[in-house]
Symmetry: C2
Subunit: 320 residues, 2 copies
Amino acid sequence: MNVTHKEAWHILTEQDDILILTHRAPDGDAVGSLCALFKVLTSLGKRVGFIIDTVPKSLAFLTEGMTSPEFEPKCVVTVDVGDKKLLGEALEKEYGGRVLLNIDHHATNVLFAENTLLDAAAAAASEVLYDMFTQNGIEITPEIAMPLYVGISTDTGCFRYGNTTSATMRAAAALMDTGIDTATVNTDIFDTKTREYAAFETMAMNSMKMYCDGKVALLLLTKDMYRRANIAENETQGINALPRQIAGVLVGITIKEREGGNYRISVRTREPVDAAEICALLGGGGHRQAAGCELTANPRTVISTILKYTEETLKEQGLI
Amino acid sequence: MNVTHKEAWHILTEQDDILILTHRAPDGDAVGSLCALFKVLTSLGKRVGFIIDTVPKSLAFLTEGMTSPEFEPKCVVTVDVGDKKLLGEALEKEYGGRVLLNIDHHATNVLFAENTLLDAAAAAASEVLYDMFTQNGIEITPEIAMPLYVGISTDTGCFRYGNTTSATMRAAAALMDTGIDTATVNTDIFDTKTREYAAFETMAMNSMKMYCDGKVALLLLTKDMYRRANIAENETQGINALPRQIAGVLVGITIKEREGGNYRISVRTREPVDAAEICALLGGGGHRQAAGCELTANPRTVISTILKYTEETLKEQGLI
């Protein structure tokens, strides 16, 4: 059932012993949303726990000092989760069928929870949380503002992407008014590369292949490349932006090898191409200009499959 | 004399046959400010002209269709100009001594004009113009909103830098409310590289030298490198951001060779280092985290000079 910001808040206030989950391989919005909701509910005197997959180094300051107490959860709340599959196998199995409330912004949300607060016009789950908090009179302290700001800024590429609305900008303005140091955070997240990352980036760019007369650019990142650059996969999300950056590219594809022949595919598009539409053909989802899907096959098949669906989409629109 | 937004507007409304100038090698804020002021004054029925140096390709859409009529200017107005020297030699000689009004946001502004509307808390001259227009009841049409948005977004690195305030975010929100397509513009400006640029970037990164135990990174971009990559200097402003991006770097220096042994130095810093302070020691200026200066010497002397002043500044603050 879809619920409003007020109804979602009402559901939360009636609960205690709440476990908060988010999607695996958490990005800034997943971490920020989880942290902000944890802090708000804790400040109301509730017992709140959380389970989160490895947090990228640049976001680790958000969860610093946050500990999840041991208790038997009476209810489960998820944030920024479009599908319970995205919780990861173990969490999906244990909690996927009993999520009381899911707070999300993905248009492709499959409504797996008992109650879903879904605002597909919001740039980030953190923006949905901001709206829920402010519509229900919750005071936004700097401790709550920071994770929400990080959630919004990371999901919008720091207010660059098409999901950024004037409401997003005003939410960020209000969060900045609490006095948080956004400049340092933005520099750390958007303007800092380790030497390892810089080397990996060069390696990735060297592997770039162009298709469809320069309208499609593709990167294949293998486990071997991660090993050679001494870098973890979740430290390399920025790489996904590279293929689309080349002038003339309408679809930028980044394929990352995981364990057991599993490949995570990120698709970034320029107008008028819909990334979520391409990924939906392969069981994935996301946003209009940034979406993802997974395939388990040998790398050649993975590449030819995503290219086939991409080409078909471009042809249907008369773009090639 | 310093004037308020209302006084500046009063001065402008009393004039006709206005010539608008901005600094040479114009960036997004220079182009955006000039375009917005030109359009607003023209819409009021005034005869308005402008002179502008080469506009970077990614910003050329802003000046498209704008023509400067032939007339003898009765008054000269400058935007985004901290010092009349920045107009370039020819314009400085012809108009530098007779600027009626300068609208700017550089804290280092030398107040060369008869009247100066200076708001050093504004992220961009375009933000100062936005405030002046709205405080004086000027309707912001999409045609005016777009150049102002580009001015603000480019001077803030798309709302990333420390000069971005909540007022900046709210100004951008109001500009977005006119319906302008900011996503496409942001992709074109911040997320698009020509193949030439990508190649030049790699070349630049290969030339990077580290000093002061990794706290200073320096790039030297020679005319020969521009020639080999087949790219113009004003297409490579993004390069200035690269040295500071490496983790641990407090001062990122980019030196660009110009004609006749002249070198343009860009300094980007992280807190607590003040880029404008370093550049002021060499007769330049700018903002706390992004400033510039010029030197005419042989490249070895240019490098040793900027390094000497940078090291002294770091030593004074006990950072090395």
